[in-house]
Symmetry: C2
Subunit: 437 residues, 2 copies
């Protein structure tokens, strides 16, 4: 397996290939960040300005951003910047004081979710959200066992790294974790996906049981992004969730990737599958860049946990976070970004599939809304890395995903237009055509 931090990563040994200014910047950074310095692309990028779906370098070149989902309503959206700045100037205290903005936001957020999920706990990152979710599940069920997919990535804390197979450069998840296959559609119409997934989940529950470990939760990123993007057929999660519930475990929907309208037809990724999670976790797009996350769950699940240690997070749920979060919801609604995501995502998917007819290295194009994976063949990251860097040279930015790193990951801001989509398709066409045979 290709560790997630190695996908599309700049090789610091190649610094000598860069021009003097860039090389000096990379060296300065390596000196300060040490072994934890991770950069994208074979020629790292430095941007000075951003707007909508565009990132601008110091020379004024515009790069089309088809990768970043944090600025979900567009880079530096003036409404979000203004709302956060206004709040930062007025007051920004922690949630042990009352403030109406976070209550307004909590109500707006919960209104987008199934009514059973009545409580929200705010965090600062998706990692903190998943870390808390794991403890809620363990406390409520008494089960320590966790089931994850083969290349799952759920964040960077100790507990969450343990359930993220994609994070391991050496070794793998510890004994309480069971790893199942990504939900591949091996049958032509995808009808076997649901059954295969449910049978893998059942086998994992049984295997945990044999080891004396009760199943606490199945957790999935509902668009399976790091697994390589698996969206179809909608509903394939249902039988797996039922199997976990039958075993007394919870279903945690990690919506860090698929949430906030990203998949176009539903506001949450789990909703495409017609399931109701026990816990929903959120992060990246929530504040369009303001560091914020959340865990939404049933009151009794939170209550069981709060009887043991409780939860408070200093930077979470502040008036500034509420202002950013509220304005993101406003913009998604008022700028019709879900409809845009649905329409442009469909256009992009169709265009990429059409490209697949002419370029045999494209094995499959998958996705929903503006979360699209283009699986290349053969199953190795070498070709994907060339394609991603070819696109980067053409000033179109995407990333990589999948167990073998052979899936192009396309995940632009939700204000991506049909013109942007056509630019991406043309650049990919040119890149693939330029590949040496």
């Amino acid at each position: 397996m290709k560790p997630i931090l190695d996908l599309n990563a700049f090789d610091v040994a190649a610094t000598a290939n860069l021009d003097a200014r860039l090389a000096s910047s990379v060296r300065r950074r390596s000196g300060l960040f040490g072994a934890a310095s991770v950069l994208f692309y074979d020629h790292p990028l430095e941007f000075v300005r951003a707007e909508g779906c565009w990132l601008y370098d110091a020379a004024g070149n515009a790069h089309l951003d088809a990768y970043n989902n944090v600025p979900c309503v567009g880079h530096c959206h003036p409404r979000i910047v203004e709302a956060a700045a206004r709040q930062l100037a007025a007051i920004n205290v922690n949630t042990r004081y009352l403030h109406p903005a976070i209550l307004d936001y909590a109500e707006r957020l919960l209104a987008t979710l199934p009514p059973a999920l009545g409580n929200v706990a705010f965090t600062c990152t998706g990692s903190e959200s998943n870390d808390l979710a794991l403890r809620l599940a363990a406390q409520f069920t008494g089960g320590a066992g966790i089931i994850v997919t083969e290349s799952a990535y759920h964040g960077n804390t100790a507990a969450v790294t343990a359930i993220s197979p994609a994070s391991f450069k050496r070794g793998g998840p510890p004994a309480h974790v069971r790893v199942i296959d990504a939900p591949r559609a091996d049958s032509p119409d995808g009808s076997a996906v649901a059954a295969a997934l449910a049978s893998q989940v059942t086998a994992a529950i049984d295997d945990l049981g044999r080891a004396g470990i009760r199943c606490g939760a199945l957790i999935v990123d509902t668009i399976f992004s790091s697994d390589g993007v698996y969206a179809d057929p909608p509903g394939f999660l249902r039988a797996a969730v039922e199997a976990v519930h039958r075993a007394g475990g919870l279903f945690i929907a990690d919506e860090v990737q698929a949430g906030f309208g990203r998949t176009g037809s539903t506001f949450w990724g789990f909703a495409r599958h017609g399931v109701v999670p026990d816990i929903v976790t959120m992060g990246k797009p929530m504040g369009n860049g303001h560091p914020m996350g959340a865990v939404v769950t049933r009151p009794e699940i939170l209550e069981a946990f709060c009887a043991t240690v409780g939860y408070f997070n200093t930077f979470a749920g502040t008036p500034a976070a509420a202002a950013a979060g509220l304005s993101v919801l406003d913009v998604i609604e008022q700028e019709g970004l879900m409809a845009n995501t649905h329409a442009v995502g469909g256009h992009l998917l169709a265009g990429l599939r059409e490209l697949g007819l002419r370029h045999p290295v494209i094995r499959e194009v998958r996705g929903a809304g503006l979360y699209i994976g283009v699986e290349l063949t053969p199953r190795s990251d070498a070709l994907a890395t060339r394609v991603i860097n070819g696109l980067r040279a053409r000033r179109v930015l995407i990333g990589a995903a999948g167990r073998d790193g052979n899936v192009l990951k396309i995940r632009p801001p939700l204000c991506f237009s049909a013109v942007h989509a056509d630019t991406l398709i043309a650049a990919l066409d040119a890149t693939l055509s330029a590949l040496a045979p």
Copy 2:
């Protein structure tokens, strides 16, 4: 022991005692946040505006903030608000792209630290910082054992909660954690503190060894805030740190509380003790409210960890975080806040000690700079809670700390003036005088 979330906490069962508007707001909040809703004071506070050391309620009443260390250079400081807002409007991407601001900030930050600590990894919260620090220590030393003080609080992730005795409402830390006494100065001149602390650390190392667990690290908040604030005599940490090093363990200085000039005479709390940590963790005051944290360590420690899983944090080290962090360092320097902290802290300490001569419920006044603990007698939180709420009624805000919750925690923004200090002292005098005998 009194769990930290219960200290100075509003009892939701007392909602009926509040006026209708406040009661309705508390109920609305309880409905949304459920069991995780934690508020301060017997009458929760709602503020609409803040500036410097003042928090204003909707009626325009000013409350003197002698508690919040997140807005370290003052609430809503215009320089920090402006710097963050300007950067949010220009560009705010993750660190897999190059940006000079975070390198400038990393250099400025590392320049305040011992030269051996050459690398920094940015996070979003102090909890994330300590979570990473624990893993760095475990990987580098091969030791899983962690030594903490009796009422330590290091954050809210699963791994960090496990080493935070103050967090447990039921049970306590797991088998790899050893809990030692707070560094109480039981000898009249405090000279026995260092020896007692070192001997406790050595005993903990031995006890871990008998359980087959190697010592990975000693971690302390260098002002021992949740333990009840222990500052003197400077240097008392040295022998304990040497004992841990002899055992092959690391010393992690948690500077979330004591860092960024808080203790007045040195920029970092560990520096008062003349020790060089292996890992330094940061959070709360770093961005004056922007959610940011950091782990600073020796390059070889980070390298060992990055060979196993590595570290990347989407919201950490962004240009906006760098802008906030840089402007905090600028303001501390240009407004002379360390000198102010030293002077006003000394004035406040002297005034509180003078008060202790007249009020026998004051057992001891401890602290450094603007981190002060006033220990009340008897050893129970009942009196401290009355005093804190008495001060709150007089519009002066402080908190509680210590194993038994009997220590008044005074920790204002660093721009606290002598006039503010006198206001606090007068209000405490009046509050103590008004206590029924």
